[in-house]
């Protein structure tokens, strides 16, 4: 890979991380309302698990949203796409933001974090050990029943 190409990739990565930090800082400034309604300023995590039943969902507190920001900002960009999860069973986590005009959705699946903008543009970050995914499950554990929590910890290898 030539020097010019490396410089271009570093510039893109820097821009992506800057944009992500700006967006998530804006989110942290809004209080969550403690419900799972994705209203303005709320950050809701959905565990993409079921087919028939509704998926478990929980809101992040401001401090938790802030820590999510820190964790995502520390992840390196990647060109890898997550391998498609099997359709039946645990498929990953989906973080929805209620902030208009910003990141619309963040997906965590199989070691890749996909940040999706409202215009459809995607940026991907590498989370190879799935630590961020595991941490979010920990954060949401009080919103999961014992069976779900046990199942998810097993799925994520802990």
């Amino acid at each position: 890979m030539g020097a010019r190409s490396i410089a271009f990739r570093l510039t893109v990565a820097a821009l992506l991380l800057t944009g992500l930090v700006v967006v998530l800082v804006a989110l942290v400034r809004f209080r969550t309302d403690g419900s799972d309604h994705v209203g303005p300023g709320t950050v809701v995590v959905e565990v993409d698990l079921y087919s028939g039943r509704p998926n478990p969902r929980f809101s992040l507190k401001p401090a938790e949203a802030g820590e999510l920001m820190d964790r995502l900002a520390a992840l390196p960009p990647t060109d890898d796409r997550p391998s498609a999860p099997a359709p039946l069973g645990y498929r990953g986590l989906r973080v929805e933001t209620g902030q208009p005009g910003s990141v619309s959705e963040i997906q965590l699946s199989r070691g890749v974090v996909t940040v999706r903008q409202p215009d459809g543009v995607e940026h991907r970050l590498s989370d190879p050990d799935r630590d961020t995914e595991r941490w979010l499950i920990d954060v949401g554990s009080t919103h999961l029943d014992q069976d779900e929590e046990s199942f998810l910890r097993n799925e994520l290898g802990r």
């Binding site: 993409d48 079921y50 087919s51 028939g52 039943r53 099997a86 069973g89 498929r91 779900e148």
Partner: protein, 303 residues
């Protein structure tokens, strides 16, 4: 903005209207452009008598240029349809035509009145499915049944209907798909009849679905309950992961399904086309509860 012609007649002039609302015109063109394979460049000579399709003509070069379309587009319908979202788009075109205006410079042009629209909608509905006989196989568990041969409907696999709109995809689940009814409520067995399931077990989810109006297989529905789909129920019994899932038999010899808010598809957890839900890779949904029929009144009841 747009002129829409329903290619219906042989002798008299076809119904034609103009759509002046730019927003509606652009939304329609956006849909048509999403899947160009649905379109053909010209009317086919093989359409035969009756409803053949729609011609859509932009009336300004600006809108034609914005969507990079030639002077007109043709959406084949009915027997010539190219599947996918074509039937849904065709129905939308009929709605637009009913509300559209007669072309100002076409004296004596026929527009689309309500009786003709109803007739054409009926033609579209007949297109997407076929009726078939569902025979009791010797290996079936013994049950009390009304008859051993029931007539069912097998719909064309149309994943775009469920997948293309993110809100539709997110808010309709396996039960919506099996019933072929989009409620946008993530429908739950029994909620429509007022007695939703209280446990994730084969007997309890079955009870709830029957409360909604589902029948056990070989307990036939009459023709008045068309469409009558053959569906299969499976359960993930736990521990840890408890859920239910439905499949629906399609025309073409395979089964379709929609895992929760994800895309409708016809492959299993191994990526293999589902020809038998009993033997497909169902992941944690290890219990096969049985086969059932959905019907028109049941699907309108689900919530």
């Amino acid at each position: 903005m747009l002129r829409i012609t329903a290619d219906v007649y042989s002798g008299q002039p076809n119904p034609v209207v103009e759509i002046a609302d730019e927003g509606e015109a652009r939304a329609l063109l956006r849909e048509l452009r999403q899947d160009p394979t649905l379109l053909s460049d010209a009317e086919s000579t093989e359409g035969g008598l009756g409803f053949r399709g729609f011609r859509v003509e932009p009336l300004s070069d600006e809108i034609a240029q914005d969507f990079n379309i030639p002077s007109s587009l043709y959406l084949p319908a009915r027997v010539l349809t190219r599947g996918g979202r074509a039937p849904e788009i065709a129905e939308r075109l009929l709605d637009l035509m009913e509300r559209g205006d007669a072309p100002a410079l076409m004296e004596g042009a026929t527009t689309l009145d309500a009786p003709l629209k109803d007739y054409l909608v009926g033609q579209l509905e007949r297109l997407g499915r076929e009726s078939a006989e569902d025979h009791a196989a010797p290996a079936e568990p013994e049950r009390e049944t009304v008859a051993v041969t029931c007539t069912i409907e097998l719909g064309v696999f149309n994943p775009g209907f469920w997948n293309n709109d993110p809100n539709v995809r997110a808010n309709n689940n396996c039960y919506n798909y099996a019933s072929n009814w989009r409620t946008n409520t993530f429908a739950q067995p029994g909620r429509g009849c007022g007695h939703m399931y209280t446990a994730i077990t084969c007997p309890e989810v079955t009870r709830a679905a029957i409360c909604d109006g589902v029948h056990h297989r070989f307990d036939c529905f009459p023709d008045s309950e068309k469409p009558r789909y053959l569906v299969a129920l499976v359960v993930a019994p736990g521990p840890g992961f408890r859920d239910y899932h439905w499949f629906r038999k399609q025309s073409g010899g395979f089964w379709g399904h929609k895992p929760g808010g994800t895309a409708a598809r016809n492959v299993d957890n191994s990526g293999v086309l589902i020809t038998n839900p009993e033997t497909a890779n169902r992941g944690p949904y290890t219990q096969f509860c049985g086969y059932f029929y959905t019907c028109n009144s049941q699907r309108m009841r689900i919530r």
